[in-house]
């Protein structure tokens, strides 16, 4: 017993500097990332309005969320729609774009990299899409379609529930292409050209076989990171929808789980219920990530 505690002391003596180095980051990480998650999960079992202390109510919040909340199913449907359309679409698009850009020589390669990443650099420039999708005849898209004779009256892109989701998806895709693109572009960078040459001798016939059997399996770790970032991003982005179609949106046409969370957390001050929404959102995001992990591990087999 004594010797083991001596060992521990010796271990700490040898390594204390390593632990000291980690303390500043870990302190911030624990206070602003770990603690809120744990608090959220605990609060999700209570009713809490910030002013009075929380009261334990068991699973009531979750029951209400899934069985009596009439808006949550819409929010869930919209979130999944955005995640299923924008997530994979931006992912495969970035993959193809990164793959093609990688075939270019500089300076084209740099130019294209900058072009595809630029929309991600500033999260206020996407507001330019508002004048593209403006509902009156001054909107760029309306005026263009009117001139070509496709439509006779301007379309209310941003307030007609029929089109709102499409608008959000187009803009969300524009904003989120960059991060995946950059990660995957770096992934292609790791594959040595010699492998392609060797593969050509071994009978790989076209560039799609090359991509599937050589490149993708070698950059699986980058596919993974990119998928994680893309999934988290699409699950929790409310900003684009809020700016383009308003919050709350007409008929809740673009209301996502994130909007539902903001509604209860910062407008109605029902913190217990908001925490239950946050927990559910986190679990969904985790589930999708695990699913993506499964798919990626099958590449090239």
């Amino acid at each position: 017993m004594k010797s083991s505690s001596n060992n521990q002391i010796r271990y700490l003596k040898r390594n204390y500097q390593g632990y000291l180095l980690m303390i500043p980051y870990l302190a911030v990480f624990i206070i602003f990332t770990v603690y809120p998650v744990i608090t959220s999960v605990v609060l999700s079992f209570t009713t809490y309005n910030v002013f009075q202390s929380p009261i334990f109510i068991g699973f009531d919040n979750y029951v209400q969320l899934f069985f009596t909340d009439s808006i949550f199913p819409t929010a869930m449907q919209n979130t999944f729609l955005i995640a299923i359309v924008v997530g994979p679409l931006s992912y495969f698009l970035s993959l193809f774009l990164a793959w093609m850009v990688n075939e270019f020589e500089n300076p084209w390669r740099t130019l294209l990299t900058v072009i595809f990443y630029a929309p991600t650099l500033s999260n206020s420039v996407f507001t330019i899409w508002m004048i593209v999708f403006d509902g009156d005849i001054y909107g760029f898209l309306n005026s263009f379609l009117l001139k070509l004779g496709f439509i006779e009256d301007p379309i209310q892109w941003r307030t007609n529930p029929q089109y709102m989701m499409m608008v959000v998806i187009v803009v969300q895709l524009w904003v989120s292409l960059g991060t995946s693109f950059l990660t995957l572009r770096a992934g292609f960078n790791t594959v040595d050209r010699q492998y392609y040459e060797a593969a050509a001798i071994d009978g790989i016939k076209n560039r799609f076989q090359e991509l599937w059997f050589i490149t993708l399996p070698m950059m699986a770790p980058h596919l993974m990171l990119s998928a994680v970032l893309a999934i988290t991003n699409t699950f929790t982005s409310a900003n684009v929808a809020t700016v383009m179609t308003g919050f709350p949106s007409v008929n809740y046409a673009t209301h996502t789980i994130m909007h539902h969370l903001q509604d209860y957390g910062t407008i109605r001050y029902e913190r217990g219920y908001a925490s239950a929404i946050a927990t559910v959102l986190f679990l969904f995001s985790l589930l999708f990530n695990k699913f993506a992990q499964k798919l990626i591990s099958r590449i090239g087999k």
Binding site: V34, T110, I128, L146, K147, W174, Y196, A200
Partner: protein, 295 residues
């Protein structure tokens, strides 16, 4: 004899490489790429054009994409536009720059300090800590806003620059990228130094830090971008501490007549991180090459 054999092999390789790159494929890929480059770039071009349009061209029917009489009036107007508030426009620019630069430098130092033991020292508990950080990548920081508001209130950080700066130090993506990059530094480099009797601190500062410069730039662009775009109205309510994206919202909320000025601020907001990215992009790609995620 040997030489001609290798030459033949080389020729064969070259020939087959041509087989793998058909012309039709090249053209198709090129068209696809051009299409999406236009999708990506056109709105950015449009916002630049909007910012140099005089007011009568902004509201012409039918709306025109191009500009006839370019002007810098929209940019010149910015300082007078905000004169109705008692904070000069330059103050918002300063706030954004200050927060972005200090937060970025702080994040790089703090994240590197933590990444080094995780990547190289093989400490007890290190693996667990890293797993938790990877898990947190799947979690959006905005979800924890409400709890963080109370934490900041308790710590007395509300309505100070620190409310933005401190959480930015603990970004998990930055730590993750730095740790992955440090992992590929050869162990021999560290071992030889520790045989010479260098302490862990010294190894970190003298050997590791100079070797991860490309990763600094990568963390810098991600962190800068994040802070530069921060409209920080949740934790900060004093006008003199507010940032440029907040000023943009104020200008645009002035209504349709501010369209030109709004575009001008958007251009300023875009140009700064874009310049940074152009300067550092090759280093960023180099760092991200090591950032893959093993299960």
């Amino acid at each position: 004899m040997q030489k001609t054999k290798t030459l033949k092999a080389l020729r064969r390789v070259k020939k087959s490489r041509k087989l793998n790159r058909s012309r039709a494929g090249n053209i198709l890929m090129f068209l696809f790429l051009i299409g999406f480059a236009v999708y990506s770039a056109l709105p950015l071009v449009l916002i630049v054009l909007q910012s140099i349009k005089p007011i009568n061209e902004l509201f012409v029917y039918p709306p025109k994409f191009y500009v006839i009489n370019p002007t810098l009036n929209n940019f010149k107007q910015l300082s007078s536009l905000m004169s109705t508030t008692w904070i000069p426009f330059s103050r918002y620019v300063f706030n954004s720059l200050f927060i972005s630069v200090i937060g970025t430098v702080g994040h790089i130092v703090v994240a590197s300090m933590c990444a080094f033991p995780l990547a190289k020292l093989n400490l007890k508990g290190g693996n667990f800590i890293f797993q938790v950080i990877v898990l947190s990548l799947m979690f959006a920081p905005s979800v924890s806003d409400i709890v963080n508001y109370q934490t900041m209130s308790n710590l007395g950080l509300l309505d100070t620059y620190l409310a933005i700066l401190v959480p930015a130090l603990g970004s998990s993506l930055g730590l993750y990228i730095m740790k992955q990059f440090m992992s590929q530094i050869p162990d021999s480099l560290i071992e030889s130094a520790s045989i010479d009797g260098a302490s862990t601190f010294r190894i970190f500062w003298k050997i590791i830090m100079p070797n991860v410069k490309p990763a600094w730039l990568t963390l810098a662009i991600f962190s800068f971008q994040n802070l530069w775009n921060n409209a920080n109205t949740t934790y900060i309510y004093s006008e003199p501490l507010k940032s440029l994206p907040y000023a943009l919202n104020q200008i645009v909320s002035g209504g349709i007549i501010r369209a030109g000025a709004g575009a001008a601020v958007s251009v300023i907001l875009l140009i700064v991180p874009m310049a940074l990215f152009i300067l550092t992009q090759s280093r960023i790609i180099e760092t991200m090459s090591t950032s893959g995620m093993k299960e």
